[in-house]
């Protein structure tokens, strides 16, 4: 088969499309494919695209440090120094799994809390789910001293998988519930973790499919309409799930339903979810007696409620 020149616009709708491109054009692997994708579609040189991911990675790392550096509190009281307390109490608490498990929890909490407190984060893929990638992926990069270049490459692959979700469903809680936010974050994080160790599209796809399948049906029901609870704690489910699914995929387990079909299922479930469970705070935890009490308190404290 003759190798053609890479086209000026690359369009993908499925993992099948990616396989087709990789077979038919002279891409230097999966990372190169997604870098070309971004570079061609944004009309930016590949070196710029790479640099931009590099600076994004730096912000992501900083967000862990910043989130841990202070006691994060919000006016609603829903975020009340959780990460700080967790770290402080650790020496006197039983460690259910190893040290690194606790680091995953602490790092995820740190970034999610920082976000709730108007800190600077990378919305991966959204602000509400921004703790998952740093909490799981960066903690593993740290644990295995992964070189920066490898981390950047894996983030391109995660971004590409997220792009497929974005194209075929959505990444927004108001459209498809939290499965589209924390679910998607978990899926792309699982794929990034696999890519650190094995750039195999099959394994990357399996990890993402399993991670997304596990969180299908997750509703969006934030108390008082704020990106605080259950969002922050839900990020940890995303992190832990991402690591577990990456581990399974690396060990050769496969998802019976392919990634593309899992994404369609997510969309269909999200479309079927009632509006009350899609970021409107008219259902779920938001309308429990305590949830409603907190909502009243938050609205009363709004200094601008008078107008």
């Amino acid at each position: 088969m003759s190798i053609k020149e890479i086209p000026n616009r690359i369009r993908i709708r499925s993992t099948q499309d990616i396989r087709h491109y990789l077979k038919s054009y002279p891409f230097k692997g999966l990372t190169d494919f997604f870098m070309e994708y971004e570079s061609r579609n944004r009309l930016l040189p590949k070196t710029e695209v790479y640099k931009r991911m590099q600076s994004t990675l730096i912000v992501m790392k900083e967000s862990i440090a910043k989130g841990k550096a202070k006691v994060n509190r919000t006016p609603s009281g829903l975020i009340n120094g959780g990460c700080h307390t967790f770290l402080n109490n650790m020496p006197n608490t039983i460690h259910l799994m190893g040290e690194w498990f606790n680091t995953v929890i602490a790092n995820t909490l740190a970034v999610s809390e920082l976000n709730a407190c108007m800190g600077r984060i990378v919305a991966t893929p959204t602000a509400g789910a921004c703790g998952v990638m740093p909490g799981a992926f960066l903690t593993i990069c740290d644990k295995f001293s992964i070189p920066e270049d490898k981390q950047i490459q894996s983030l391109f692959i995660a971004g590409g998988m997220g792009e497929l979700i974005q194209i075929n469903a959505s990444l927004s809680g108001s459209q498809h519930g939290c499965q589209a936010e924390v679910g998607s974050a978990s899926a792309i994080t699982a794929s990034a973790i696999v890519a650190l160790f094995e750039v195999s599209l099959d394994k990357i796809e399996n990890a993402a499919a399993l991670a997304m399948s596990n969180l299908l049906g997750l509703v969006c029901d934030p108390v008082a309409g704020l990106v605080e609870f259950p969002c922050v704690h839900r990020n940890i489910v995303g992190s832990v799930n991402a690591i577990a699914c990456a581990q399974m995929a690396l060990a050769g387990l496969t998802s019976p339903i392919p990634f593309d079909e899992v994404v369609s299922a997510m969309k269909q479930i999200g479309d079927d979810l009632p509006a009350s469970l899609k970021e409107t705070s008219r259902g779920g935890l938001a309308i429990t007696p305590t949830g409603l009490r907190i909502q009243r308190k938050v609205r009363d404290e709004d200094p601008e409620k008078a107008y």
């Binding site: 944004r42 976000n115 108007m118 600077r120 997220g162 792009e163 601008e304 107008y307």
Partner: protein, 223 residues
């Protein structure tokens, strides 16, 4: 949308729509207005009104008006900075079903008889659109450079505009024009690949039947 919308944008939390998107409306509104200002009235609609306080929507908009982008760590301090820069603002809230869930109306005031209205909506993932400039219905985000013209509704205007743009080799990606029969004006909204050159803008402004020319650069790759 593409990979940097998935791994990104870098932004100040907590909400892509209620903080980053709101900030972007303020930022684009200030670019549209295009001159210095010291007094604005901001009206928040629906979800922006009910949960804006907890999401810092108010501060994010003021920060955008001050020229701070969505990743600027000064956003939480926007009110104090506005005070130092002598920008006065006030907020109102409105709950109306016929408005977008995340909508803002910004009115720039100068003296007692000059006001300039801009309306925008936050559409998720940190993206926003301007939907109204004064009496003209428009629709643009940061994907293209924008040229907005308001002129007397007389024949030959589109031809004149096209001629000027052609002369300066400006490539038009999209164009929409409409008229406001009530006041006899028309508007044209053009989406361009590159920002319109200053000389072309000056030439358009010199035409006595063109009332207003607004030019905004492409913002997408800045975030």
């Amino acid at each position: 949308m593409a990979i940097f919308d998935i791994i990104g944008p870098v932004m100040i939390g907590p909400s892509s729509s209620h903080t980053a998107g709101a900030n972007r409306i303020g930022y684009m509104a200030a670019l549209c207005y295009g001159s210095p200002f010291h007094s604005v009235e901001i009206k928040l609609y629906n979800s922006f009104a009910s949960t804006g306080f907890g999401h810092g929507t108010d501060r994010a908009i003021v920060a955008g008006l001050l020229g701070f982008k969505m990743d600027d760590e000064r956003i939480p301090h926007a009110f104090e900075i506005a005070k130092k820069r002598h920008l006065s603002y006030n907020f109102r809230k409105s709950y109306k079903r016929d408005h977008h869930p995340n909508e803002v109306r910004i009115v720039f005031n100068r003296g007692s008889n000059h006001s300039f209205l801009i309306r925008g909506v936050s559409i998720g993932a940190g993206k926003a659109k301007i939907t109204q400039v004064q009496d003209d219905d428009v629709e643009f985000g940061g994907d293209h450079a924008i040229l907005l013209l308001n002129y007397q509704d007389i024949t030959g205007m589109i031809g004149f505009i096209g001629g000027v743009l052609g002369k300066y080799k400006v490539n038009v990606a999209y164009m929409k024009s409409s008229r406001n029969a009530l006041i006899g004006t028309a508007m044209a909204m053009l989406k361009l690949d590159e920002e319109c050159p200053q000389d072309a803008i000056e030439e358009l402004k010199r035409h006595s039947d063109i009332h207003r020319v607004i030019s905004i650069r492409k913002l997408n790759n800045e975030y």
